[in-house]
Amino acid sequence: MNCEEAQGLLDAHSLGALDRSEAGRLEKHLAGCQECRRLHQEAVEASALLALAAPLRRASPALRLRLRQRLAPRPALRWFPAPRLSWATGAAALVAVSVGALTWGGFLQTQVNGLKEDNDRFAVLYDELDRRGETVDVLQKALTDAAFRQEHLQNLLQEQDQAMRVVALGGEGQEDLVGTLPASEARGRYMWSQEEGLGVLFLSNLPQLPEDSTYQLWVTREGGSPVSGGTFTPQDDGSARLIVRTSDLAGTLTGMAITVEPAGGSTTPTGDIVLQGQR
């Protein structure tokens, strides 16, 4: 292909209107001809201007939001901080993530599904309000909040899947807890799996407590003082299921106990021990 022939095809090529073989021959010529490449670039720039002839329409602000959300990982769960403290931190909580967790799977899935529907509704409403030129700040915040809640609940679901595996496979070990007066009928079993990185504590026959009191889980390591695993309220039938997440689930664990504490919990055990297990 010579320059004259090539230059006769530049406009059509810039419009994408050449068939494949013709485009291939032209591109081969362009690769070796600087002047034709320069003219081709001019043709491309002119063709690009045709985009401006399209009627100008405003893209939905919701599209900008969706795009922005896909750029980077979402921030940490700001509204549902889940404490993940190790024994070694000696801080307030050992993490009792959920009570009645193993029976909540269906409930949580329903919640997640509901939130997905909420998100879709918010997005539609957002678009509609925006088209009407009304403020969307509140909706934007609600949409973002709902997305975080959805993610948080999804994380809980995954955690419960792990707990189910610990129970189904028997874990790597287990300890029994025995009730003491005034809850001599109470029983507990703690199963853990280092592989899954969590333990599951099953409790039963716990008496209901007055509103100004709460149950609190404590664990101790050799030579250390009790560390709180958080407070919880049993189900109506006196049962509770706690998911326990620590850096050391059993290795240096010397004791586990449940006490009755003032509502809100205590920094060190102050009330009666109602369940305890000793190694």
């Binding site: 406009d11 419009l15 491309v44 045709l50 893209a59 599209l63 750029l71 088209r131």
Partner: protein
Amino acid sequence: MNYTECPDEELMTQLSRQDIQAFETLYDRYGNLVYSVSLRILRDVQAAEDVVQDVFLRVWRKPDHYDTARGRFLTWLLSVARNRAIDEQRSRGRRQRFEVGSSPLEGEGPPGDESDDPALAAVLADQRTAIRHALAGLPPEQRSAIELAYYGGLTQQEISRALGEPLGTVKTRIRLGMQKMRAALATARLGFQSEDELRGSSGIAGRP
């Protein structure tokens, strides 16, 4: 860093450092343009939004695909958007006849602003007027052939079949139409100015 004053090419450099603000600045400048051309080609709001999302995610993930040596950023961006929309149109098997001067579709959204950048919006509005005048000044058959190629994604062969005109006639219409359009744009001082002139006036990708 003043993102608002930053040239497109510099913002693209920032993207290689995962600079989200640089990305948002580019989107605010050209998101409406990309959406508009996609909508013109696809005539489907959802599909056009999908194209916008794909195009800008590509910009975000692979900024190095833009080569400054091969032209200005907006030229490249609009080419990417147009090609992506044409691909989508083909994959949907919804190729259709595009009539010259067809009216906008119902429900495709409100008229947009050129850009969130007021200075750039003014430049783009001038360019829009100029390109429309240039197109309007073409004989209808030349304008139609160009629009079928650009917005319809048809090759010259396909246009020839669609219009029932000889292939040579279609080739001539496209070549003459584009020549006249370039001449009209040159008269309006658009399209082929030097970089300095572009930045000082109204080139398509030059920042005012």
